[in-house]
Amino acid sequence: MTVTVSPVFLFNTQTGQPEAAELLDAITDKQLADWEGEWIPELFKAIQKLHRAGVDRVHWPQSRHWNWRAKTDALQGMLAYPGFSIVADGMTQGMMLIDTATKRCRLDVQKGKDLAYVEYVENAPWNRPELAQPPLYRGIGSVLIRAAIALSESEEMKGRIGLHSLPQANNFYANTCGMSDLGPDASYHDLRYFEMTPEQAETFIEKGQRS
């Protein structure tokens, strides 16, 4: 498998400076090893803190059940499900899996058209505001959403993307990304469904170039 690596920048909150990082158009064994060896222990420590602080389970990170190795193994070699990852300081900082084949747009203005559907996207626990204050790196979600838009454009889907958001990320998709909120989806765990039009994609990309 050929992996394409693109230079990107994340904001390091410890140094207060942008830091060079790499966007990979794949999830490789290195990412899965980072997930098993670093993300999971850190996630469990964070959950333990929440538990000891008396935080109700409904407020624990809902992605705690995600098994990236199982997901990646199941979709190995499938053209329909490309993966992406971000590496900074030698460590995987975020991962994303996209479905480019089986989903269609729901928003009235683009109903039925093809789109890139973000199946799973997750930041490393130390980059998640609900688990680490301040998160070590900022900007991971934006880089990954830009990658999803670029993929959508390269497949002639014109930047159209869609996703179901976990509650802690609703604000990011609505306000930072400027996606349309189609509300809770009863057919998908009542998670809110967000969709981006070509115009919204263009605005989001322009915003990223200005910042």
């Binding site: 050929t2 394409t4 690596v5 693109s6 966007l23 158009d25 499938m78 053209l79 329909a80 480019t100 084949a101 089986t102 058209k113 093809d114 670029a150 390269s154 497949e155 002639e156 889907m157």
Partner: protein, 71 residues
Amino acid sequence: MMPSKKTMTLNLTDAEMQALEALSERKDVSKTAVLRQALRLYQLVEARAERGDKLFFEDEKTKDKAEVMML
């Protein structure tokens, strides 16, 4: 970050070309994009069928399901 692509010649009958052109027009994408999308779907369906999964079409209103026979 576009992966490199290879070019091939495709031989289609008139009827196949008409179907491809109609899909290309309806979906507002190039014929190449239609075929790449078809390949993604076909590979996925084949992989699931090999695993023993069945493919169904469901009527959105009636919820009636019809199995698609994979040959």
